[in-house]
């Protein structure tokens, strides 16, 4: 197996126009991943499956991750002239990270026994109609898992063929695994009402009803 850098170069030459980025992984697990652009996602996946050195014939795990917008505070040291004297000043700069949904695939090779190779695809934003290319035509194992991502995260997979809700019921409208999901106000079914639930019960009814 090649290193991830070599693999990146190889993929970029094999699939013209593909933009691939290595996403580092801070944990001791040492599983960095490849971020592939949306347009060439399926072509790159096909190459990973069919190339005789790689042969990632088995997509084990496919899942979604929600990354809402986050503000990060960074301290930056700059030189400024304060009272006529040049000094080093620390400034706090607020940065906003991009918001997106991500589909993560863990690939293994059953033929050659290597893996995992982690590939990620990112959507443009976190709106309701965000699309990614489906990898189900490459690996059947993604069929139910992409349906699950669609159901719980709301990523629409183009070219899936049978993209329906899988775990939630068909009439359900929201996507429960998103970080900003608010669960419905069904405190009535709470077996032991406690502080938070009682507060929600108070808000549920108009004030004149509870008075």
């Amino acid at each position: 197996m090649q290193t991830l850098e070599q693999l990146k170069v190889r993929l970029e030459t094999a699939v013209p126009g593909a933009r691939i980025e290595i996403v580092p992984n801070g944990s001791p697990a040492n599983q960095p991943s490849l971020l592939i652009d949306r347009e060439h996602g399926r072509a790159v996946a096909k190459f990973l499956r069919d190339d005789s050195d790689l042969r990632f014939d088995y997509a084990s795990n496919a899942t979604g991750v929600d990354w809402p917008e986050k503000t990060i505070k960074e301290k930056i040291k700059t030189r400024k002239i304060v009272d006529g004297v040049e000094k080093e000043v620390e400034e706090v700069v607020e940065k906003k990270t991009a918001a997106y949904l991500e589909a993560v695939y863990h690939l293994y090779s059953m033929a050659l026994g290597h893996g995992p190779l982690v590939i990620r695809l990112r959507t443009e934003n976190r709106s309701d109609k965000v699309t990614l290319p489906s990898l189900t035509p490459i690996w059947r194992s993604c069929e139910f898992q992409e349906r699950e991502i669609f159901d719980l995260f709301g990523i629409v997979f183009e070219g899936h063929g049978d993209l329906r809700r899988i775990l939630m019921w068909d009439e359900f409208t929201d996507h429960p695994m998103r970080k900003d999901y608010v669960d419905p106000d069904d405190y009535e079914y709470e077996p032991t009402p406690h502080d938070r639930v009682l507060e929600r019960a108070r808000l549920h009814y108009p004030p004149e009803a509870t008075a």
């Binding site: 992984n25 801070g26 944990s27 001791p28 697990a29 599983q31 014939d57 088995y58 997509a59 084990s60 795990n61 899942t63 991750v65 993560v104 863990h106 059953m110 026994g113 995992p116 982690v118 690996w139 059947r140 194992s141 993604c142 069929e143 139910f144 898992q145 719980l152 809700r165 899988i166 775990l167 939630m168 019921w169 429960p176 695994m177």
Partner: protein, 385 residues
């Protein structure tokens, strides 16, 4: 007009209705006894033959992954027991293995051996029960399943004296196990393992050569190897199709590289091979158990440096997987440095092994669907999560 061959001659007003076949749509389940819980299959039937099949999930869905994101790392261990509620020990192991990868925790040698012993005992009774359920689905009401449950009970007694619970063990911890074997446990385990081959021989004498079993299972639900790989099928189902892939051999997690065992493989990929695969795997499991019990080292069972409460792994991610009795059970965890995982994902073998259910069932009869589903070995607690 010949009055002898024209069947409407006596009643000229009768409409000529042809007995043309029509397609019938049937919902099989969710409370059909052979669906192993609450699982539904929408079947389109031509007479008794299956033309289309769509599995319907979600009756047991409680969004386990969302619960995992709001729990701290330690608090999720008892929840994993409830995924595949037959194999709590292996669920525990898959989860703690992923957290150990994520946080870089090492495991003492004795704890690794204990994990192998309890995981292989779990595999033993999972496969025994699976064969019992399969036979139950085939119409062998009672006897094989009761024999299987009798043997399972002996192992559950062992687990109860070890962890305090028959099924929801909550036994493993990051960096080891919760408690050591109680006095006399190893001897009891040894006697259970020593008795098991006799039981397997009796079980096989009853079943393996049985003509009804052969007729109902051979050449039924054939799964070709190429499709099995592409559809991500794992565990005994994959190996029944003749693919040599066992994560205990590939990843060598824990101390599996120290034991001498082989990976049985099927040839035809039909239901009979899947049945046989479980029987043969149980015999290999007994080999591992004998070796592990006789070479069990002394020492601590929990890494003293491992932090259980208030564990905050560095920001990053890890995917850990084990060979659970039903296939590859994996946990994908992302940490943002906080006390609970940012993303907590379970790769459920039961769900993914159902991907090719329709492919296997088309062209067979409804009675065969029951048998094919039984040979997949699913637990709905894990399918729906």
């Amino acid at each position: 007009m010949n009055g002898l061959t024209d069947k409407t001659a006596l009643n000229p007003g009768a409409a000529r209705v042809t007995l043309d076949h029509d397609l019938l749509e049937v919902a099989m389940g969710p409370h059909h006894p052979s669906t192993h819980g609450v699982f539904r299959m929408n079947l389109v039937l031509d007479g008794e033959t299956v033309v289309r099949l769509k599995p319907v999930f979600g009756y047991l869905h409680r969004n386990h992954e969302k619960i995992g994101e709001s729990n701290n790392y330690l608090g999720s261990i008892p929840y994993t027991d409830r995924l595949d509620y037959i194999c709590s020990m292996t669920n525990n192991w898959a989860y703690v293995l992923s957290v150990e990868k994520l946080a870089g925790i090492s495991v003492p040698e004795r704890a690794e051996y204990i994990r192998v012993i309890v995981a292989e005992l779990t595999r033993l009774f999972n496969h025994t029960c699976q064969v019992g359920f399969l036979l139950q689905d085939m119409g062998a009401l009672g006897t094989p399943l009761m024999y299987a449950f009798r043997e399972r009970e002996k192992i559950l007694d062992l687990f109860e004296s070890l962890s305090g619970a028959r099924m929801m063990h909550n036994y493993m911890r990051f960096g080891g196990c919760r408690c050591d074997f109680p006095a006399g446990w190893v001897e009891r385990a040894r006697s259970v393992v020593a008795h098991y081959p006799t039981f397997l021989d009796q079980f096989e004498a009853l079943l393996s050569g049985n003509e009804i079993l052969k007729v109902r299972t051979q050449k039924v639900g054939v799964l070709p190897a190429a499709l099995a790989i592409n559809a991500g099928i794992t565990g005994p189902m994959l190996r029944a199709s003749g693919v040599n892939y066992d994560i205990r051999k590939v990843d060598k997690y824990g101390v599996y590289d120290r034991f001498d065992f082989s990976v049985p493989m099927g040839e035809h990929g039909d239901v009979y091979d899947r049945y046989m695969m479980r029987i043969l795997e149980m015999r290999e499991t007994l080999k591992i158990l004998n070796q592990a019990i006789s070479t069990l080292p002394e020492g601590p069972i929990l890494d003293p440096k491992a932090k259980l409460r208030n564990l905050r792994p560095k920001a990053g991610e890890a995917y850990g997987r084990i060979e659970a009795p039903k296939g590859e059970l994996g946990f994908y965890l992302i940490s943002d440095g906080g006390p609970n995982p940012y993303r907590y994902r379970i790769r459920p073998p039961s769900l993914i092994n159902l991907t090719i259910l329709e492919d296997m069932c088309l062209g067979h009869t409804v009675a065969d669907v029951v048998v094919i589903l039984g040979s997949v070995d699913i637990v709905l607690g894990e399918v729906d999560r």
